[in-house]
């Protein structure tokens, strides 16, 4: 129905229907909105508020203005942690996303039979909780009794010390890749499935090889998904916590209490009992992560055009 053909009463009725539709959406959103409000927005402002105070074991609580925020900006422990997760992001994310993309393209190549089996096998590690995965890999990395140590022993060579400062980031990257590769693969795969077959047919008629199709048709078609997983990984990298926190018990000499920004805030809050400064640091960590996400998103938008 268009405005030109509609009679006046009909138009009024339509407006009414539309209004009711608007209203009906609210109850559906409400559970999310409430949880989001109480779980995110209010705590965010509470953290901001906490950051303006200082609490001492002797002396109690006092208002200190922006002192905690200024201190955080000059805090070398926080920035060192940032540098580390930034480096980690460059090690882990490209590797994981490339592997996920390759796996998805292979599954989508229609040359694999019983596709459900490799698909579920690759996705399975995602079902393992991060802490459990880190513990499991911690055993595997072991120099004397772990798989690494045993294999090296059988070959008569020295096992690499995965817990040393040189390899630790790789050890963590490997765990995260193992956990999340299948998850990203599934996102890519489902995006690939909705590309119309006609595109491939016309590419084949034009003489494109399967590799060429993958590169020039499939990947550009799913760049929205690639962008999304990149953002997820960026955020995940900057919030790195579980893996290093578990491996810390195995390698206390390598992983310190401020190894990643999240570990640092956690230790400030629960070991140093300094909730106020921890709130300030976590807000700054959150803001920097948001800025980085915005930058990556802006670059991605340009790619889209």
């Amino acid at each position: 129905m268009t405005a030109a053909t509609a009679s006046a009463p009909a138009k009024a009725r339509k407006t009414k229907v539309k209004e009711r539709q608007d209203w009906i959406g609210i109850p559906f959103c409400l559970p999310y909105v409430i949880v989001f409000l109480f779980g995110t927005i209010i705590p965010l402002f509470y953290a901001l508020y906490l950051g303006f105070f200082k609490q001492q074991m002797i002396g109690g609580s006092s208002f200190v203005g922006f002192a905690n925020y200024l201190k955080a900006l000059k805090d070398t422990l926080m920035w060192t942690g940032f540098g580390r997760v930034f480096l980690y992001f460059w090690i882990q994310t490209p590797l994981m996303l490339a592997l996920a993309l390759m796996a998805a393209l292979m599954l989508d190549s229609q040359r694999i039979r019983h596709i459900a089996i490799p698909r579920i096998l690759m996705f399975l590690p995602y079902a393992v909780p991060g802490v459990i995965a880190a513990m499991m890999w911690g055993y595997i990395y072991g120099n004397d009794y772990g798989l690494f140590g045993q294999v090296a022993h059988a070959l008569g060579v020295q096992a690499p010390n995965m817990f040393g400062s040189q390899l630790m980031l790789f050890a963590i990257a490997n765990i995260a890749t193992w956990c999340f590769m299948g998850y990203n693969m599934l996102i890519y795969y489902s995006s690939l499935r909705v590309i119309p077959e006609e595109l491939y047919e016309s590419a084949r008629i034009d003489g494109a090889s399967e590799l060429r199709i993958a590169w020039s048709v499939k990947i550009p078609q799913i760049r929205g998904s690639v962008m999304m997983t990149l953002l997820f990984s960026l955020i995940g990298s900057f919030q790195l916590f579980n893996e290093p926190n578990v491996l810390k018990t195995l390698a206390p000499e390598t992983i310190n209490s401020s190894y990643t920004p999240n570990m640092y805030t956690y230790n400030l809050a629960f070991t140093s009992q300094d909730a106020n400064y921890a709130a300030a640091v976590s807000l700054i960590v959150g803001i920097i992560t948001m800025v980085l996400v915005a930058i990556v998103k802006a670059i991605g938008n340009r790619w889209d055009k």
Binding site: G39, T40, I41, P43, L44, Y46, A47, L50, Q55, Q56, M57, I58, G59, G60, S61, G138, Y139, G142, N143, D144, Y145, G146, M228, L231, I235, F238, Q239, T249, L250, A251, P252, E253, T254, N256, S257, S258, N262, T265, Y266, N267, A269, F270, T271, S272, Q273, D274, A275, N276, A278, A279, S282, L283, V285, G286, T289, M290, V293, A294, K297
Partner: protein, 462 residues
């Protein structure tokens, strides 16, 4: 997904962190004033047991199963004092609950269990009652091991009654020592010689290890060596002296033992470590006496191959040995018990549970085998004479001797958790071949000073 959505996801973590922070912040708002000195005297405590007036007390502890038989025995004997005893689960959860209740200024029970290491932190926050009333020290103090009695003091105040204790002892793999013709060392010099001999004979073996998973082993070595790395006066004044000669000597000696292959620097408690220990990679273990009880369940295959001994002495002979501590807990009365009657009943109760022979007996039989701090336990030949089936030794006799030799010249920092974290950040990375523990101690001291000063203590570093 839009930028805004992503930003929201990113912000959520900061927010989630903030939420937990809100629930778990530190300290209370009363400016860390010491708990009001109680007017409760020893005669009040005696009267509280004889009275027939009903008193209801509440108590939180993590070692619920261990203590339950003793608490029941008390209630049977003194039915007018009723104890609502609540298990707080694991000790980490216990401290979170206690800290939250202090912060919220409500919900804290009358009595809480604490470790010696945690006591000063709660005492300076003003959450505990100073129990040093007339006649308490004279009449109750004598019931407990001297070191334990000292540990329940902060400044001049008495903030708890000791329950159990953990004098440090050593356990040696006698089968390995025998194989290489090594005697159990009694001094650190002998320990070093024995360790060099063992490592030379079999480079895959170490006489012992230095635990990198926390401060416990190294700090107790400072304690045993009488190094006094810090002293705490009153509730506010802390003097740090981690660079004194004795501390330096312990640091340099430990470094040398690592470099010589006498000690392996390794985190204990990991699967890798436990398997290596079972396989005989480390021929000794130096830790709190409670460790002895864990071997029987953790390493049944080593039955008859382990022997307990006093830890090595820092002096020139075994007679000079001074012993450090590694844990132990106590019961404190909190400011929730705000009447004289309640405080007297609470003190009477915790003193009975921690020292009455009937309660001690319950701790040793129904509740397990707690290493009580009471003299009624440590001086009773009935407990010393017990032949331990696992070790084939009268191990209690050794632990009792160690308890007697605990160096009482020792203070506990009121920010022990932070100390542990800083120790791991600064000292542990140097615990390796070619490391420099001694200069790490100087940096460690700087960090402790900064933190203490920020928390409002008067910290002097020497």
């Amino acid at each position: 997904m839009s930028t805004k959505m992503k930003a929201i996801v990113a912000a959520a973590s900061a927010a989630a962190m903030a939420l937990t922070l809100g629930a778990c912040g530190s300290g209370n708002g009363n400016g860390g004033a010491a708990g009001a000195k109680t007017a409760v005297s020893y005669s009040d405590v005696e009267a509280a047991l004889k009275s027939d007036k009903d008193i209801n007390l509440t108590m939180w502890a993590w070692s619920y199963d261990t203590m339950k038989p003793s608490v029941e025995a008390f209630e049977k004997k003194y039915p007018h004092i009723k104890v609502d005893f609540v298990s707080t689960g694991a000790s980490a959860d216990h401290y979170t609950k206690v800290q939250n209740a202090i912060k919220a200024k409500k919900g804290l029970p009358d009595i809480i269990q604490l470790e010696y290491d945690a006591l000063p932190q709660y005492a300076v926050q003003g959450a505990l009652v100073n129990l040093a009333g007339d006649g308490i020290d004279e009449n109750i103090g004598k019931l407990y091991n001297d070191a334990a009695w000292k540990n329940v003091h902060v400044g001049d105040g008495l903030y708890g009654i000791p329950q159990d204790q953990a004098p440090v002892a050593a356990w040696y793999r006698t089968d390995i020592l025998k194989q290489y013709g090594i005697e159990i060392p009694t001094t650190w010099d002998e320990y070093e010689q024995a360790g060099i001999k063992l490592h030379k004979a079999d480079p895959t073996k170490y006489l012992g290890f230095i635990d990198t998973s926390g401060n416990r082993q190294f700090i107790q070595m400072l304690h045993a060596a009488d190094a006094t790395p810090w002293t705490v006066d009153g509730l506010k004044d802390i003097t740090l002296n981690l660079t004194n000669d004795k501390s330096k000597k312990v640091a340099e000696f430990t470094q040398r033992l690592i470099d010589e292959g006498v000690l392996a620097a390794v985190p204990s408690g990991t699967d890798e470590f436990n398997r290596a220990f079972a396989d005989g990679k480390y021929a000794s273990w130096i830790d709190g006496s409670w460790r002895g009880g864990l071997f029987a369940t953790g390493n049944p295959e080593l039955k008859g191959k382990l022997a307990a001994a006093l830890p090595p002495s820092w002096g020139s002979s075994a007679d000079d040995v001074q012993v450090g501590e590694a844990g132990g807990s106590l019961l404190s009365v909190t400011t929730t018990a705000d009447t004289k009657e309640k405080q007297a009943a609470a003190l009477a109760f915790i003193n009975w549970v921690n020292s009455d022979p009937e309660s001690i007996d319950a701790f040793q039989t129904v509740g397990g085998s707690l290493f009580c701090a009471a003299k009624s336990f440590q001086s009773d030949s009935k407990y010393a004479e017990v032949d331990d089936a696992y070790f084939g030794q009268k191990v209690n006799e050794i632990y009792f001797k160690a308890a007697e030799k605990i160096n009482t010249n020792w203070s506990i920092l009121p920010y022990n958790n932070q100390m542990d974290s800083d120790f791991k950040d600064i000292v542990v990375p140097q615990m390796k071949e070619g490391g420099d523990i001694s200069s790490a101690l100087a940096k460690f001291q700087d960090k402790l000073k900064t933190y203490g000063t920020e928390q409002g203590f008067n910290v002097t570093a020497k």
